[in-house]
C-alpha cells in the first residue's frame, strides 16, 4: 500500500520541492499551507507521515504537533519537523512535543529521503 | 517604651479636653460665688476636673499593653 505524506509549509517553492521529492519516492502527497489546514487535512485522512514546518501562519508547528499527539488515534503517525531556526532549544522543544525527527533548513534531500524512509519502516 | 498608637492619642485627647475645661468660656460658667459640698464652686470645679484629668491619664497609660 502506498504511504501517504502530508507536507505542511507556507513557502510555495519549498512545497514544490518537497512534493516533487516525495512523489518521486512513490508516496501519495497532500499539501497544507498553514497550521489549521494541516489539522483539517489530518482529520480528513490520516497520513503516515507529516513534514511539518514550524513558522506557520494561524497555528505554528509546535501547536500542530501538540494537537496531533494529543489524539490517541494518531499515535502511529510519524512527524518530522522542519525549521529554518536552528536553535538547540527549538530542537529540544520539538522532540519534547512528540516529533519523531527534526531537520534544519536547508536540508540535504538525500538525508530527508532517508529519514522519511526509515520512519516509515521501508529501509 | 512601646508606643501603641492609641495610648498617645488618648493622652493628647486628655490634653485637649483639659485645655478646654480650664479655659474661657467653660471656666466662666463656674466663676460664681456659691458652694458645692461646702466648698467654693470654682475651687471645687477646678480640683474635680484636675482629678478627672489625672484619672483619665492614669487610665490611658496603665491599660496599655506593653
Amino acid at each position: 500500500m502506498t504511504k501517504r505524506i502530508l507536507i505542511v509549509d507556507d513557502e510555495p517553492n519549498i512545497v514544490v520541492s518537497l512534493e516533487f521529492l516525495m512523489k518521486r519516492e512513490g508516496y501519495e502527497v497532500a499539501v497544507a499551507g498553514d497550521g489549521e489546514a494541516a489539522l483539517r487535512a489530518v482529520e480528513e485522512r490520516m497520513p503516515d507521515l507529516v513534514l511539518l514546518d514550524i513558522m506557520l501562519p494561524k497555528k505554528n508547528g509546535f501547536e500542530v504537533c501538540q494537537t496531533l499527539r494529543a489524539n490517541p488515534q494518531w499515535q502511529s503517525m510519524k512527524i518530522v519537523m522542519l525549521t529554518a531556526k536552528g536553535r538547540d532549544t527549538e530542537v529540544a522543544k520539538g522532540t519534547a512535543l512528540g516529533a519523531d525527527a527534526y531537520m534544519t533548513k536547508p536540508f540535504s534531500t538525500k538525508d530527508l529521503i532517508a529519514q522519511v524512509r526509515q520512519l516509515l519502516g521501508l529501509s | 517604651m512601646n508606643r501603641p498608637n492609641l495610648t498617645g492619642q488618648r493622652l493628647v485627647a486628655v490634653f485637649l479636653f483639659g485645655c478646654v475645661m480650664f479655659n474661657y468660656p467653660l471656666i466662666a460658667l463656674f466663676n460664681k460665688t456659691g458652694k458645692v459640698f461646702e466648698i467654693p464652686l470654682l475651687y471645687f470645679y477646678i480640683f474635680t476636673v484636675w482629678a478627672m484629668l489625672i484619672g483619665l491619664m492614669a487610665w490611658a497609660i496603665e491599660r496599655r499593653e506593653d
Binding site: N13, I14, T109, K110 | Y24, T33, P40, Y43
Partner: protein, 920 residues
C-alpha cells in the same frame, strides 16, 4: 523656745540623711543595681518643680489672688498629656546623642553650634540666678522666723544685717558645698547623678508630707474642716473675692497665659530638663510619671487655699507676710515640732531646687561656655596637660560656687525688692524662650542654626526689656521714668505696654511679645537661610529619632575612622585614664572582643568615642576634639586648638562625604540603567539575528533542494527542469535582496550610510518611481492615479533614497490590491512648512494592531495561505529610517477592508536635513 543650735543641728542631720541616701544611691549605681530605676522615684524626682516658691509662695499668692496660684500647676498637668510624644522624643534624642544639658541639646540640634550652646547657657544663668536667690531668701527667712519661736517676728531686711551674721550667706555656702559633693564627685560620661536623684525624690516626699501636715493641722486642728473655713469666708468681703477670679477678659487671658507659661517651664527649666531627660534611667518611667507627677501637684495644692484663708483669718491686721503662713500658723498655735517639720519641708524644697538647678547650670557653664573658651586659649597650654578630667571637675565646682555666690549677691542686693518677689514667673518666661528652638528642632527639619540664634536673641531681648528691666526699675535700681514714659520718652516703647498693648498683666504681655519675636525670627530666618550639612545631619537625627535603630545614629552623617590608640588617649585626657579604659573595654566586650585593642578602626568606634566625650564636654566641643584624631594625617593638638572655630573642617569634610555619596549613588543608578538598556539591546539583537537567520535559510532551502534534485535526477523533463531553475534564480534574487536590505538597514542604523543630499524635486521622484513600477501595475491591471500639486518647492534629501521609499510604498500598494479592481492614488501637496506625499490604495487594508507592527523589522501582513507577500519585511522599516533621517515622518492610516494610505512628510526648506547632517 527653739534654740538656734537645735534648728541648725536638725537641719544638718537632715542634710546628712540626704547625703547618706545619695551616697547609697551612687554605690548602688556603681554596683549596677540602680536605686532610681523605678518609675515612682522618677515621678517624685520630677517634683523638684515644687520649690519654696510653691512651699511658701503658693499660700502667699493664694492670699492675694485666690485661685490665681493654680495655673502654675495646671499647666504641667496638661503638658503631661503631651509627654508621651514630646518628652519621649526629647529623651530618646538625648540618650542617642548623650545630651548633658538643655544648652547641649539646642547646640547639638543645630549642627553642634558652640554659639547656640553659649547663648542658651547665658539666658539660663541670667534667668535662673534670681530664682536661686529666692530659695536662699526663703530658707533664711524661715530660719529667722523660727528662731524667734513662739513670737511671730518678721525678718528684718536682709541688707540690714551685717554680712557675717546673715544666715543666707551660710546657707549659700553650705548648699554650695553640698552640691559640689553631690554633683561633682566624679566625671561621668553620661553626666548622670543617681544618688542625687534618689535624694531629690526623698526630698519631694518630705516637702509633701510637711505641707500636708500643716494643711491638715490648719484645716482640722485650728478650724473644723473645709466647710468651716469656707463658711467663715462668707462674712469677710475681702476674702470672698478670693473664691472667684475677676470676671474680665484680661483675667481669663492671664489665667491661660500662666497655664501656657508653666506648660513650657515644666519642659524647659534647666532643672526639669536635668531630672526628666538627663537623669532619666529608662524611658518607660515616663509613663507612670505622666499621671503620678500631676497627682503630686494636685495633692500638694489641696490645702493651699485653706491655709491662706486660715492665715488671713488668723492674722487679720496684715502684719504677717502671707508667704510665711505655712510656718507661722503652727508657731502661733505653739506646735513646736510641726513648725520644725515645716522648716525642714521648706529646706527640702529649697535644697532640691538649688542642687539640681546648680548642677544643671554648672554643666552648661562648663561645657558650653568655659571649655570652648579654654580650648581656644593658647596661653593656658592645655595641650601640655595629660589629664584634663581634674580640670573639668574643678571648672564645674567653681561654677557651682560662683552660681550660688551670684545667687547670694542678688539676694543681698534685691532683698525685699520686687525683683526678687516676682522672680518665679520672670524665670519661667526666660526659659520659655527655649521652646521654639527645641520644639521646632525636634519636629521641623528645616529649623536652622541662624534661625534659632535669631529667635533666642530676639525673645531674650524682649524678655529683658519687658520684664527684667521693669523689675529692676520697680526695685528702685533704675529710674521708673522709663516704664512710665517709655525708652527715650517714646510712649510706644513703654516696656509694659509695648506698642500700646494694654489690658494684659506684665507676664502675659511679655510672653506674647517675646514669643512673637522669638518664633517669628526662628521661622522666618530658618526659611530664608540654607542650613549647613552639619545642621541638616543633626536635624534629621533629631526629627527622625524614632525611625533610626539604636547604634547607627550619627555615624551616618559623620564618617571617619581612627585607631583605638588614637582615640583612647584623647578620651583619657578628659575622663581620666581609668574611666576611659573601662568604657572602651565595655564597648569592646559588647562587641564580643576580649580587649579594647582588638577594636577595629571604623566610624562606629569614632561615634562611640565622640558620644563618650560629649558626655563630659558637650557635643560641640567633643566633635572638634574627636575630629582632631580622625583625620587621615593626625593633627597635633596644637593645630586643633587653632582651628576650633565652629568646627569648620568637620563641616567641609562631612559635606565632601555627602557629595561623594551622592555622586556614587548617581553613578550606580546610571550604570543600572545602562545595563538595562544593554540587556534590552541584546535581547532585540538576538531576536533580529534569529529572524534574519530564518529569512536567509528559507530561500536557501528551496535553492538547495532544487539544485540537488536537478543534480541527482538527469531524467527530469525539460519543462520541469526550466521551472525548477527559474525557482532557483528567483530565490537567489530574493536572497540577494534580503542581504542588501539587511546591510542597508544596518548601515542606516549605525549611521554609516552614505547620503547624497541635494535639492530634490518630488514630482520627478514620484514620476520616476511610477515608471519603474509600471509593469507591476499593468501585470495586475491596477490603475495608478496621480494628484500632484503644481507648485511644490524642492526639498533637501537623497534622490535615490527617496525613490527607494516610493518604490517600496508603490509595490506594497500593488501587492495588497486585488487584480483589475485595484486602484492606487498618489498625492503630493504642501502643508504648513512640509511637503506631504500620500500613497492610497483600495486593497485589503491593515488592522490597527498590524499598523503598529508593520514598521518593525520582518513584520509582514497578509494571509499567506492565499499569497505569501513578496518582500523581506524590511522595506517599511528602511523607508521610515530614510524619511526620519531627513527630518520627516512616515505613517499609515487604514481601515481593515477599505484600503490603506501610507503618508510621509519632509520639511520644505531642508532645515531638518541640514540639522541631521551636522549631527552625523
Amino acid at each position: 523656745m527653739l534654740q538656734g543650735w537645735v534648728i541648725a543641728s536638725v537641719s544638718f542631720a537632715y542634710l546628712g540623711v540626704l547625703f547618706a541616701i545619695a551616697y547609697y544611691g551612687d554605690k548602688r549605681a556603681d554596683a549596677g543595681r540602680s536605686l532610681i530605676d523605678n518609675p515612682t522615684i522618677y515621678a517624685l524626682s520630677l517634683a523638684v518643680y515644687c520649690t519654696t516658691w510653691t512651699f511658701y509662695g503658693s499660700v502667699g499668692r493664694a492670699a492675694s489672688t485666690g485661685i490665681g496660684f493654680l495655673p502654675i500647676y495646671l499647666g504641667p498637668t496638661l503638658m503631661a498629656g503631651l509627654w508621651w510624644f514630646v518628652m519621649l522624643k526629647i529623651i530618646r534624642i538625648s540618650k542617642a546623642n548623650r545630651i548633658t544639658s538643655i544648652a547641649d541639646f539646642v547646640s547639638s540640634r543645630y549642627g553642634k553650634s558652640q554659639l547656640l550652646g553659649g547663648l542658651v547657657t547665658v539666658i539660663a544663668v541670667i534667668g535662673i540666678i534670681p530664682y536661686i536667690s529666692l530659695q536662699l531668701k526663703a530658707v533664711s527667712n524661715s530660719f529667722t522666723i523660727l528662731l524667734h519661736y513662739p513670737d511671730i517676728v518678721m525678718p528684718a531686711k536682709a541688707a540690714a544685717q551685717p554680712l557675717l551674721q546673715d544666715s543666707a550667706l551660710y546657707i549659700a555656702m553650705i548648699l554650695a558645698a553640698f552640691t559640689i559633693l553631690f554633683g561633682t564627685r566624679h566625671l561621668d560620661a553620661t553626666e548622670r547623678h543617681e544618688g542625687m536623684v534618689a535624694a531629690i525624690a526623698f526630698e519631694s516626699v518630705v516637702k509633701l508630707l510637711a505641707f500636708l501636715a500643716v494643711g491638715i493641722f490648719v484645716t482640722y486642728g485650728i478650724f473644723s474642716g473645709f466647710g468651716d473655713i469656707f463658711s467663715r469666708v462668707e462674712s469677710v468681703p475681702k476674702l470672698k473675692s478670693l473664691m472667684t477670679v475677676a470676671d474680665t477678659g484680661a483675667s481669663y487671658g492671664s489665667w491661660w497665659s500662666l497655664t501656657f507659661l508653666s506648660m513650657l517651664s515644666i519642659m524647659f527649666l534647666p532643672r526639669q530638663f536635668q531630672i526628666a531627660v538627663v537623669e532619666n534611667v529608662n524611658e518607660r518611667h515616663l509613663a507612670r510619671a505622666t499621671w503620678l507627677f500631676p497627682l503630686y501637684l494636685l495633692i500638694i495644692n489641696i490645702f493651699v487655699l485653706p491655709i491662706a484663708v486660715g492665715g488671713l483669718l488668723h492674722f487679720p491686721d496684715g502684719n504677717v507676710d502671707a508667704d510665711t503662713f505655712v510656718l507661722t500658723l503652727p508657731m502661733v498655735e505653739r506646735q513646736e515640732v510641726l513648725a520644725l517639720f515645716v522648716f525642714i519641708g521648706g529646706l527640702s524644697a529649697a535644697t532640691g531646687m538649688v542642687i539640681v538647678e546648680t548642677i544643671a547650670l554648672s554643666t552648661m557653664v562648663c561645657n558650653d561656655l568655659v571649655m570652648p573658651v579654654l580650648l581656644r586659649w593658647k596661653s593656658l597650654r592645655l595641650q601640655e596637660q595629660q589629664d584634663l578630667s581634674g580640670l573639668l571637675l574643678s571648672i564645674r565646682r567653681w561654677a557651682i560656687a560662683l552660681i550660688l555666690l551670684l545667687g547670694y549677691v542678688y539676694f543681698r542686693a534685691a532683698g525685699e525688692a520686687y525683683a526678687l518677689v516676682g522672680i518665679g514667673l520672670i524665670s519661667f518666661a526666660a526659659v520659655a524662650q527655649f521652646a521654639p528652638a527645641i520644639i521646632g528642632g525636634i519636629y521641623w527639619k528645616n529649623g536652622t542654626r541662624q534661625g534659632a540664634v535669631a529667635g533666642l536673641l530676639a525673645g531674650f531681648a524682649v524678655w529683658v526689656y519687658t520684664l527684667l528691666l521693669p523689675s529692676f526699675a520697680k526695685s528702685g535700681w533704675l529710674s521708673l521714668d522709663f516704664i512710665k514714659e517709655g525708652l527715650f520718652g517714646m510712649a510706644l516703647l513703654r516696656p509694659q505696654q509695648l506698642f500700646g498693648l494694654t489690658g494684659l498683666d506684665e507676664i502675659s504681655h511679655s510672653l506674647f511679645w517675646s514669643m512673637l519675636a522669638n518664633i517669628g525670627c526662628y521661622v522666618v530666618i530658618s526659611l530664608r537661610v540654607q542650613p549647613s550639612v552639619a545642621e541638616t545631619g543633626q536635624g534629621t537625627l533629631f526629627v527622625d529619632v524614632f525611625k533610626r535603630t539604636a547604634g547607627t545614629e550619627g555615624s551616618r552623617f559623620w564618617r571617619g575612622s581612627a585607631q583605638v590608640q588614637e582615640l583612647l588617649p584623647l578620651i583619657s585626657r578628659f575622663l581620666g585614664p581609668e574611666r576611659a579604659r573601662a568604657a572602651f573595654l565595655a564597648y569592646a566586650r559588647r562587641r564580643g572582643l576580649a580587649s579594647a585593642d582588638a577594636l577595629e578602626a571604623n566610624p562606629d568606634l569614632v561615634h562611640f568615642a565622640e558620644n563618650l566625650l560629649a558626655g563630659a564636654i558637650g557635643g560641640a566641643s567633643a566633635r572638634v576634639m574627636v575630629a582632631s584624631v580622625v583625620k587621615e594625617e593626625p593633627l597635633g593638638i596644637d593645630e586643633v586648638m587653632n582651628i576650633l572655630d565652629e568646627a569648620s573642617q568637620v563641616r567641609a569634610y562631612s559635606r565632601q562625604i555627602e557629595q561623594k555619596s551622592h555622586e556614587l549613588e548617581k553613578a550606580t543608578s546610571e550604570l543600572r540603567a545602562a545595563n538595562e538598556r544593554l540587556k534590552e539591546l541584546d535581547r532585540m539583537k538576538d531576536d533580529f539575528m534569529s529572524t534574519v537567520t530564518h529569512e536567509l535559510r528559507t530561500p536557501l532551502t528551496s535553492i538547495r533542494a532544487f539544485s540537488e534534485i536537478l543534480r541527482d535526477d538527469p531524467k527530469i523533463d525539460l519543462l520541469e527542469r526550466k521551472k525548477f531553475l527559474a525557482i532557483i534564480v528567483r530565490e537567489a534574487e530574493r536572497l540577494t535582496r534580503l542581504i542588501n536590505q539587511v546591510l542597508d538597514l544596518a548601515k542606516i542604523e549605525s549611521g554609516n550610510a552614505e547620503w547624497h543630499t541635494a535639492d530634490i524635486d518630488l514630482h520627478e521622484v514620484i514620476e520616476e518611481s511610477a515608471a519603474a513600477t509600471s509593469s507591476l501595475f499593468s501585470d495586475k491591471r491596477i490603475g495608478l492615479h496621480m494628484a500632484l500639486s503644481g507648485n511644490v518647492p524642492t526639498v533637501r534629501a537623497d534622490r535615490d533614497r527617496l525613490i527607494q521609499v516610493m518604490l517600496n510604498l508603490l509595490s506594497n500598494a500593488v501587492k495588497f490590491c486585488e487584480a483589475e479592481r485595484g486602484r492606487v492614488r498618489v498625492a503630493l501637496s504642501v502643508e504648513g512648512g512640509e511637503v506631504r506625499v500620500d500613497v492610497e490604495d483600495n486593497g485589503t487594508g491593515i488592522s490597527e494592531a498590524d499598523q503598529r507592527t508593520i514598521f518593525e523589522k520582518f513584520r509582514q501582513v497578509g494571509d499567506t495561505m492565499t499569497a505569501k507577500p513578496q518582500g523581506t519585511g524590511l522595506g517599511l522599516p528602511i523607508s521610515r529610517q530614510i524619511i526620519e533621517h531627513f527630518g520627516g515622518r512616515l505613517w499609515v492610516s487604514s481601515d481593515l477592508g477599505k484600503g490603506a494610505t501610507f503618508s510621509f512628510t519632509l520639511p520644505l526648506n531642508g532645515s531638518g536635513a541640514e540639522r541631521r547632517e551636522e549631527r552625523t
